[in-house]
């Protein structure tokens, strides 16, 4: 059998799950979660089948293509529903369906006590379907469908606990901010249409050579805007922190491992365009670098464990974007870091979830402490994830992040130096805040006390269904990096898509590694000095100006609130007024004036026969005079 026909099934399986679970009604409540997990697993299995099949082929014919049907056929405009499965997509497919399946599994335990669990799994499946569609689409418009699809899923899942106004608001915010990014994507597509007459990957990317750099830059920037929205990059990052309102598995899957990395995918996928537009690339790197620091700083200040991790996610994706912005030097490492990050960040979030699970959903790390005794498995897996992310030698993060820093320097020129040092600095901060999280949560003495209702949390280890995924992910986060890097496996694997080229780094790999190690140690020891040695106050100290700003996402939200929300409200309110008084007023005004005229003319009809006679007489006179005048002129 020819395997490309399987591609559609990758999407179809979870989509079917979503449809069944969402329309199925209560009768599915008992089996719903298993069904959902099963279908996720199915698409993972199919992914594996395709993967092995792909490995069996030679590099040239590895890219598969499946054309389902012509979607929007209009004069001069041809949109198809067609899939393209090459090494890049394959990587994502495995990551998404794999991690996805694990998180389904995890959720079975995590959402046990939620009576709307069936719907939760429906949404999760919907997300998988959309995300797979996103990475499998063979043209930008279909990608756009997946793009908005994951947006919808994330909207539904963030707002899953809709009775909490905060959740509903966070969901809305996420969707809206993403819409701004989507604007960029749709404009990019329009530009492609007017420039190339199509928006399918192959023709577009091949035609880049024939068009002006200006056009490419425009497209590139628009794509970057889209990426910023989806991947929570400055300036569109504000939604990610709030998105932590969603259930933790959601944060793990969508807001750490997969969806938020879609931006990186988009940029890498559109490599040819960016290669032709250096300015756009520069913009990408800048965004990446800025976010990298931004996220890291925010991560240092947050006491909410999930928000801290969210900050870290931002920052890590900043690394990827930075790498992607470096062009062919960086694409591979962007993706590689993406994958490894998928493992350890998912693991960290699941760990966090397991902690919260044991702590009555307490999220404030200052209310934790010394948990390693109570939940050993969580502690170990979380710890491995921690080591991975700070780039402890030998673990995944070490390889992927290291490469990115190298590549940054390899960009060459001053910007190379700047980017490189930013990346290094980021590594230091990463080490700092992750150590902080680690210490606050698992070390020191316990700081939790009874809540308002007086029932004190008694931490305990989570059920198997939760710990198993954590363990698996931990394994991934330990070995993936090394596995990929031995003999540059990953590089060669992606070669056909990314056309890797080794830049000429001013510094040798060894130097960079050395530097990384140094900053790593600095970061860790700083954190230790602050949170390890002396006891931590269970109420956050006021803190320095920077800290306070960082707690508030560096005031970026306040800015949004004042400028966009308030301003928008004023605008709409005044427009409502205008519509009522001006636009409507003009019409009513004319009507009224006619009425007034009528009232005045009416007075002439005063009831006196003689005045009527006068008007007749006058009329006759006018008539006569007018007639005579007509003759005269």
């Amino acid at each position: 059998m020819n395997t490309e026909n399987l591609i559609a099934l990758l999407v179809a399986a979870p989509l079917l799950g979503a449809a069944v679970l969402l329309c199925g009604g209560r009768r599915l409540d008992r089996v719903g979660h298993w069904l959902g997990t099963l279908l996720a697993a199915v698409s993972f299995v199919i992914g594996l089948v395709l993967f092995t099949d792909m490995l069996g082929k030679g590099t040239e014919e590895r890219s598969l293509h499946q054309h389902l049907f012509s979607w929007i056929p209009v004069e001069g405009f041809q949109a198809d529903v067609a899939f393209q499965l090459d090494q890049l997509s394959m990587t994502f497919v495995l990551l998404i369906s794999g991690v996805g399946t694990l998180i389904h599994l995890y959720s079975i335990g995590y959402m046990e006590h939620d009576e709307r669990r069936r719907r939760f799994f429906g949404y999760l499946n919907l997300f998988l379907a959309a995300m797979l569609l996103l990475v499998l689409a063979d043209n930008y418009l279909l990608l756009y469908v997946g793009w908005e699809g994951v947006g919808l899923a994330s909207y539904l899942l963030i707002g899953f606990w809709q009775h909490k106004p905060s959740a509903a608001t966070a969901a809305k915010k996420a969707f809206l901010v993403n819409r701004v990014g989507d604007m960029g994507l749709s404009i990019a597509i329009m530009l492609m249409f007017t420039t190339f007459g199509t928006f399918a990957f192959k023709p577009v990317l091949e035609a880049t050579a024939e068009t002006s750099e200006g056009k490419l830059t425009a497209i590139g920037l628009m794509l970057l805007l889209a990426a910023c929205g989806k991947s929570a990059q400055v300036p569109l990052q504000s939604w990610l922190g709030d998105a932590m309102e969603g259930p933790t598995p959601v944060s793990a899957l969508i807001h750490a491992a997969t969806m938020v990395t879609a931006g990186v995918y988009l940029i890498v996928r559109s490599g040819a365009i960016f290669n032709g537009a250096p300015d756009a690339q520069l913009a990408v790197t800048v965004v990446g670098a800025v976010t990298l620091l931004f996220g890291a700083i925010v991560g240092c200040a947050k006491d909410d464990i999930k928000k801290a991790l969210a900050g870290s996610t931002m920052s890590q994706i900043g690394y990827m974007i930075l790498a992607a912005g470096l062009g062919p030097i960086g694409y591979v490492f962007a993706i590689m870091h993406l994958v490894t990050h998928g493992f350890f960040k998912a693991g960290l979030f699941l760990g966090a979830g397991s902690v919260m699970h044991g702590m009555n959903d307490e999220v404030d790390m200052r209310k934790y402490g010394g948990l390693r005794k109570y939940m050993p498995v969580t502690f170990v897996t979380f710890g491995l994830g921690y080591l991975a992310i700070i780039g402890f030698p030998g673990l995944s993060g070490f390889f992927s992040k290291d490469k990115i820093i190298e590549a940054a320097f390899a960009k060459g020129g001053t910007e190379g130096w700047i980017l490189g040092s930013v990346a290094l600095l980021g590594a230091a901060i990463t080490a700092y805040y992750m150590t902080r999280v680690m210490l606050l949560t698992f070390f020191g003495e316990k700081r939790w006390e009874p809540d308002a209702q007086g029932n004190a949390p008694h931490p305990h280890e989570s059920p198997k269904s939760m710990t198993i995924p954590m363990i698996l992910l931990a394994v991934g986060s330990v070995f993936a990096g090394g596995f990929f890097s031995i003999g540059d496996r990953f590089m060669h694997w992606l070669e056909p898509v990314t056309h890797h080229d080794h830049g000429d780094s001013p510094l040798s790999a060894a130097t960079v590694t050395g530097a990384t190690m140094v900053v790593l140690v600095i970061g860790v020891s700083l954190a230790w000095a602050q949170y390890g040695r002396r006891p931590v106050p269970s109420v956050a100290p006021r803190g320095s100006l920077v800290t306070r700003a960082a707690r508030r996402d560096l005031l970026q939200d306040d800015f949004n609130h004042v400028v966009l929300v308030r301003g928008g409200e004023h605008l709409t309110r005044s427009l409502v007024y205008v519509d009522h008084t001006l636009v409507d007023g003009v019409v009513n005004g004319t009507a009224a004036s006619v009425g007034g005229l009528s009232g005045r003319l009416r007075k002439l009809q005063n009831g006196y026969a003689r005045s009527y006679a006068v008007s007749m007489f006058g009329g006759a006179a006018v008539l006569i005079v007018a007639t005579l005048l007509m003759r005269a002129v």
Partner: protein
């Protein structure tokens, strides 16, 4: 004598009649003014008839008189009934309907 003068006289009479209609209140008087206007017309007719040397004008004058008489019949009937129900023949009192 220039026949035009007759025309002027007729016009004058007509104007007087019309003015009367406009300024007098008593319905009877107003009505008489209208009769005056009709007679002005008669004068004009007769003058023109003479002028053109055909008799049409004079005949029309007779018709006019008959019409005038008919108007008197109808008019007086109406005015009298108005007078009887209002005890006043002033046209200005009859102004129930307005606006």
């Amino acid at each position: 004598m220039n026949p035009v003068n007759y025309l002027y006289l007729a016009a004058l009479l007509f104007a007087i009649g019309a003015t009367g209609v406009l300024i007098r209140r008593n319905a009877i008087v107003v009505f008489m003014c209208i009769e005056l206007m009709l007679n002005a017309c008669n004068l004009a007719f007769v003058a023109f008839s003479r002028l053109h040397g055909n008799l049409d004008g004079q005949i029309i004058a007779f018709f006019t008189m008959v019409v005038a008489a008919a108007e008197v019949v109808v008019g007086l009937a109406i005015i009298v009934s108005l007078f009887r129900s209002r005890h006043s023949a002033s046209v200005d009192d009859a102004s129930l309907m307005k606006l």
